[in-house]
Amino acid sequence: MEILEQKQNEINLSIPSKHGMEVIAAKLSENLSLFKGFEQKKIEQIKMAIIEACINAFEHGSDSKEKVVKVDFLLCEDKIEVTVTDTGKGFDVSKIKKHALSSPLKEKSKRGWGIQLIHKIMDEVEITSSSKGTIIKMSKFK
């Protein structure tokens, strides 16, 4: 019964691990969140979080032959849940660096902002990574 209900609110996308496809996923999220009546600011945050998660999945997460990234959406009453899954070699989630916000500009301009940004702009973030791949699940409340 519950699974049936979930199916009725689930949208699944799979995209090749290829430059530009992160925008396709972001635009889909835009239309889904418009459909659910989200406000503009939150829509932009959801889009950016998906872009960051997809780029990571493309860059670090898709060494496997398949090179496909899954982006799954669950439309709940009060939130939208997005899960980005890759089948790459994974990473040690506990070792994500944080930029010291008081550091000089030169330090800030180094890459490594993606996951930090996702944490700041989404309401719930859960990253699971193993040698079989990475799953990042993020939610935004309405």
């Binding site: 530009g20 925008v23 889009k47 950016m48 500009l105 301009s109 890459r111 702009i121």
Partner: protein, 115 residues
């Protein structure tokens, strides 16, 4: 959709860059190249109007930090205008709001540079 272009307006002592498209590594690099071209001509002050950029990524944003850094090195000014909220929020998260002022309109940004 994933394309990027910049148009340029040369003013008295500053340059306005209007971006169109996705501010990713390519978009960011295109902005950086234009700024460096004009810095070589002697300009130090820049307005970037983001009206036609509805998405960015963190790699693009990092290149904007580099751009800011080179402008600050010559004691120039960098102002943004017409940003969607997520661009402003990204700048804030990256701790750049003390270095870059963001204005609603290009006119306001230009006035602030003239001061």
């Amino acid at each position: 959709m994933v394309n990027f272009s910049i148009s340029v307006e040369e003013k008295d002592n500053y340059v306005v860059l209007k971006t169109d498209g996705y501010v990713n590594n390519l978009g960011g690099r295109a902005i950086a190249d234009k700024v460096h071209d004009f810095m070589e001509k002697g300009y130090k002050n820049f307005v970037i109007n983001f009206q036609k950029s509805e998405i960015l990524n963190s790699i693009g944003a990092c290149i904007l930090i580099e751009v800011l850094d080179s402008i600050l090195e010559v004691e120039g000014k960098l102002k943004f205008s017409n940003c969607i909220e997520i661009i402003a929020q990204t700048m804030e998260i990256m701790g750049l709001t003390e270095y870059i002022d963001i204005y609603e309109t290009q006119e306001e940004a230009e006035n602030a540079i003239k001061d």
